[in-house]
């Protein structure tokens, strides 16, 4: 792991952390339920990308599975919540 890559990964992770903080602000502020679902979906994607960056940082393939699970569960969760907002039922 060279110095250049460590610096780049650090800067990227700082930017992701800022993005997560801003997304959490939107999650708390609302103002509607669909705003919160959108913010949660965004947070899932950012954490997924963080997993991929950490995989590069620690040169490990274990993070890939975590990222895959984040993508799957993020989709299922957001789709279920959006369906609930639309119909009041998740499975009809």
């Amino acid at each position: 792991m060279s110095n250049l890559l460590v610096l780049a990964v650090g800067a990227t992770l700082v930017m992701y952390a800022l993005a997560v903080a801003i997304g959490a602000l939107r999650l708390v502020r609302g103002p509607h339920a669909h705003d919160r679902v959108l913010a949660l979906d965004f947070l899932f994607v950012v954490v997924l990308l963080t997993m991929l960056v950490l995989a590069i940082r620690y040169q490990s393939s274990m993070y890939f599975e975590a990222a895959l699970l984040m993508a799957l569960f993020g989709f299922v969760g957001s789709a279920a919540m959006a369906k609930f907002l639309l119909r009041g039922e998740v499975i009809e």
């Binding site: 780049a8 990964v9 800067a11 990227t12 993005a19 801003i22 669909h34 990308l49």
Partner: protein, 121 residues
């Protein structure tokens, strides 16, 4: 310049680009005025930023292991399938809830889009 150094420069550039894109998406999510405008912002993270990170990962692990390592593309395929589904569902939910609440709806589409809609209907 060795291959490893070149690969590192490419990986670092792609990672920084993805960080900037994700930050832009978050700022858009925070700053845009209307929900239907805010919906546009996170797709930046879903598409461009995700592609930047996975390309960086492919370059890094291909150079490191000295063989092509493409499995990260699975995540891009998953995102490409799931993001539009979530977006459409959320947009319909927002429209439905706004109609129910009696809040003002977003302005109708322009003349071109309206005529296309009539043809489709």
């Amino acid at each position: 310049m060795t291959t490893a150094l070149a690969a590192e420069i490419v990986v670092a550039a792609l990672l920084l680009a993805s960080g900037a894109l994700v930050l832009t998406a978050a700022l858009g999510l925070l700053r845009l005025a209307d929900f239907f405008q805010r919906m546009h912002a996170p797709s930046l993270a879903n598409t461009l930023a995700a592609w930047c990170v996975s390309l960086a990962s492919i370059v890094h692990f291909s150079v490191l292991e000295e063989r092509l390592s493409l499995h990260v593309l699975v995540i891009n395929v998953l995102l490409a399938i799931s993001a539009p589904v979530t977006t459409v569902l959320l947009a319909r939910a927002a429209l439905f809830r706004r109609r129910q609440a009696g809040d003002p709806l977003p302005p109708p589409l322009g003349e071109d889009a309206a005529s296309t809609d009539r043809q489709l209907a």
